[in-house]
Symmetry: C2
Subunit: 317 residues, 2 copies
């Protein structure tokens, strides 16, 4: 495959305009109690308040809106059991085009309901990667729909990068940005945009110890796939994407880890002090920061709160 | 007692300036999913994000900052087991003056901890109103501290009114404002300010069916004290205050009721759709609105979300 160019600063600014009316410019919240505990000044960009409850709305909207009229007619397709499924179904619905979502038969009912609610057509398959890929290929062949992958895809990365753009436009003098890393769409987009905005801004990824493939890959300098992930941060189980890894290697300062205990504590801190609902994956950056306080003393740190889709009946406290 | 004047529009505007640096100008959030369900356009003023997690920070700050230097030296006192206790201790701490909080011995540990955290001096007493009043009188006599009541007090009402002022300044064309009613500090302040801003704005109180003394009083045209309240909305158990009733009679259009089932459903809706944490009392206006949809069809409705202090281990879902 031909080497693809990363989105430029202007590409990302155009993306922000392209998706502006389809997403929220999410608020930035602060907590003096958490600042005191952390010993630095924290700003939280609340993508848990984003459409579909996660930053994924950005990349999906950008990818759909960039399709040609010809492509749009045939719709979009993906395989996912998570937030990308709902985000893509919603983006397609807003654009008035069909979406085909291959979902494993054991996907949670609530996720299926969200996709159906946005008018997405669900294709159920066996819960294996092989079955997901085969079914996706079949759907794409039959319908001519465009496959929109969840993170390893330029238009998705470009869309996720608009979050850091909004953040830096709204909040002056941030010295550090932190985002969780799973597939690397959000972290990649954040690192790319921050580099364009001001290369002095330090971008950190945060990852659960129980699914630390990005950390391992970053340290080794080559992509090491995730095997047997085991963490409460169920949005970060996936392996880092190739394009994402390339950006992260170039523009991310470091990847910091947090244990599940630290993740649950940080999650609870955000619930109690900030009065907002986040999913466990979303607490990983604060957890990693609190586990590495000395790095951030006195700094102005922006944390992207990635999403708020959590089963309220299964809170870990 | 001499008849007291209600705060004027200018009094409330001065109060907003007085407390500006001690409180948050809280954000306003919306949810298209809840709008669709309600059949009207809703705007939520998030006082759950306020200092001490509730609007009570406003009235306490205003009351403390209005004291003379002489009064300040001797500090402030109150009896409370709820948000007013923490709010007053915090306001005193910010002003650098002592606070004496009479609390029943059975008050939750977490409430005592909050008061202590702000440097408040706790005086424990038996859990009866008599014991609370006797102990408060004793403290006031011994220290010369000024008693700041939780709601039936002009400076507190004036402070709570700043919430509606911020709301109407930030959000154009609101036709309806709704607030929960317990003692009536928030509803009284909201009704007063709305009247000054634009008498066409309809102000509704919302009350749990299991503690409906404001509703009963409003209908009867005389103050009927609350007896044996029984509701999940534990911030609204108290009886309406006298000053508060006077304002409410004059400037509130109606008081609407919600059952505990309706309150829990509305609370869950806000958690799931808006991704924010609120206490049960805070869900009462949305619950009452959804139980009376036809009154609000197509209107622009502002709801004050009063607070977010809830025990996460005891959520009703």
């Amino acid at each position: 495959m031909e080497k693809q160019e990363f989105p430029s600063f202007n590409d990302i600014r155009f993306a922000a305009v392209r998706i502006k009316s389809f997403i929220h410019n999410t608020p930035i919240l602060t907590s003096s109690a958490i600042n005191e505990l952390a010993g630095c000044e924290l700003f939280f960009k609340c993508e848990n308040f984003q459409k579909v409850g996660a930053f994924k709305a950005r990349g999906a909207a950008n990818s759909v809106m960039k399709l040609s009229d010809e492509q749009k007619k045939k719709g979009v397709a993906t395989h996912s059991s998570g937030n990308h499924a709902a985000a893509l179904a919603r983006a397609a619905s807003v654009a008035g085009i069909p979406s085909y979502i291959v979902m494993p038969s054991n996907a949670p009912e609530i996720k299926k309901k969200a996709v159906k609610g946005y008018g997405g057509k669900i294709i159920e398959c066996k819960p294996t990667l092989k079955a997901r890929e085969t079914n996706l290929e079949k759907v794409v062949n039959e319908t001519g729909a465009t496959f929109i992958p969840p993170y390893d895809y330029m238009d998705v990365i470009e869309g996720q990068a608009t979050c850091a753009l909004e953040f830096l436009e709204a909040q002056d003098n941030l010295e550090v940005l932190m985002a969780p890393v799973g597939g690397g769409g959000l972290l990649g987009g954040t690192a790319l945009l921050s580099h364009y905005w001001d290369p002095e801004i330090e971008v950190y990824g945060a990852e659960p110890k129980g699914a630390d493939d990005a950390y391992q890959s970053f340290k080794a300098g080559r992509l090491i796939p995730q095997t047997n992930p085991n963490t409460i941060a169920d949005g970060l189980l996936t392996s880092l994407g190739e394009l994402n890894f390339e950006i992260i290697q170039k523009y991310v300062k470091d990847i910091l880890l947090a244990s599940d205990d630290e993740i649950v504590s940080a999650m609870r801190l955000i619930y109690e002090r900030m009065k907002i609902i986040i999913e466990p994956s979303c607490a990983v950056p604060l957890a990693a920061l609190l586990a590495n306080k000395s790095k951030f003393q006195g700094k102005k740190v922006g944390i992207i709160l990635s999403g708020g889709n959590v089963d309220l009946e299964k809170l870990p406290f």
